[in-house]
Amino acid sequence: MKKIIFQFLALSLIFTYSAQSAESGGMPQLNPEFWISQIFWLVLTFGLLFIVLSKFILPKISNNLETRKSQILENIETADKQREETEKKVKEFDKIINDTKVEAKNFFNSERQKVLDDINNKRLSLEKDIEKEIIKAEEEIDQLKKTSQEKITKIAIETSSDLVKQLIGEDINKSSLSAIVEDLSKKEMEKHNGI
């Protein structure tokens, strides 16, 4: 196998060598046969290329680039303007919100004050009324106390005189009876009042 490869390599090297030595032309570039033709066609094609590019194609490309640049600048400008506008609007909006907040707070505070005042007034008047009522009631109680004592003593005197009359069958001097009843009731009251 190795032998075959080696032989193949050697053979191919020989072939290469023979193929390359077969033609000894040198550089075709230095052969002046077609120089004039090459110059002529170079001038023709390059000249046409230059004319068409510079007259028709390159101005269009530069024009395109310019318009794109200007359009982009314009767009950026409008975008800036719109952004400023939106910023202004946002500021206005914020201001409105703040104003309304302050207003609402003020309104709320004043209403609360009103309600508190109202409540205070009502409470004060109620308290006054209650005090009045209490005073009245106390007076009434006092009066009742007084009158009730008098009534009680009266009733006591009457009942006792009636009882005595029934028991003895005779009228007794009312003043002496009342003195006794008063004395007794005073003692009772003292017992009640703990004096």
């Binding site: 390599l9 077969a22 040198g26 570039q29 033709s37 066609w41 094609t45 046409l48 395109n64």
Partner: protein
């Protein structure tokens, strides 16, 4: 024989022999590829001129190359070189497309012929010299007298400067021609190895050939770029006299 690596540079007549005043200007394979390159450039860039705000791919290609070359010119030669934009654009595109079409197997590389590159370089050289003399008059000769050189050295420096100026078209043309020719010859040699070494030993030169194809495509672009940028630099010397 096709195995000769220089065979690919042969120029041969296509069609009838055309003679004007005994001068042979027949249509050859070189002319064919010049025409093909020019037509390809025109078709591609004409497709790229549609007026749309959002460009499609071809339009993007055309506009990117436009701004690429415009930037190259303004970087190297300044704003004064704007009138020469379309010439440098055509030059770059022509050289680039000729180089690139040469990369197609069995095609012909126009720029691998010294006469073609030399005509281009000579035209640039003469044009730049004329522009220099129009812009600065005889003051353009100050280009050969650098400032700040001691008087003793001046004769020598002036001679060197003149030689370097006169060798510009040669260096410009030989650079492009030699690069293209060397690359294509090398690829052909490796291709010949692939054929002769066959299925057993041909893989290594085939790999080389593939790698060289990539390198040659890079060289094709790079040489077109170098050609254009050197033109810009020469133009810069003529437009803005620094010395």
């Amino acid at each position: 024989m096709a195995a000769n690596p220089m065979y690919q540079f042969n120029v041969y007549r296509i069609g009838p022999e055309i003679k004007i005043n005994n001068i042979d200007i027949s249509f050859t394979n070189a002319s064919l590829f010049m025409v093909i390159s020019s037509l390809a450039i025109l078709i591609i860039f004409n497709l790229g001129t549609k007026r749309s705000i959002i460009p499609n791919k071809i339009q993007l290609l055309a506009e990117l190359s436009y701004s690429f070359i415009s930037k190259m010119i303004s970087d190297t030669a300044g704003s004064k070189a704007k009138p020469y934009f379309s010439f440098i654009f055509s030059l770059f595109m022509f050289v680039l497309f000729c180089n690139m079409f040469g990369m197609i197997p069995y095609s012909f590389t126009v720029t691998s012929h010294i006469i073609v590159t030399f005509v281009l370089a000579a035209f640039i050289f003469i044009g730049v010299t004329i522009i220099g003399f129009i812009k600065h008059g005889l003051g353009y000769l100050k280009l050969f007298v650098p400032s700040g050189v001691p008087m003793v050295l001046l004769p020598l420096i002036v001679v060197i400067e003149i030689i370097s100026y006169l060798s510009r078209p040669i260096s410009l043309s030989v650079r492009l021609f030699a690069n293209m020719m060397a690359g294509h010859t090398m690829m052909k040699v490796f291709g010949g190895f692939v054929v002769s070494l066959g299925i057993v030993g041909g893989w290594l030169p085939l790999g080389f050939s593939v790698a060289l194809t990539g390198l040659e495509i890079l060289v094709a672009f790079l040489q077109a770029y170098v050609f254009a940028i050197l033109t810009c630099i020469y133009l810069n010397d003529a437009l803005n006299l620094h010395h």
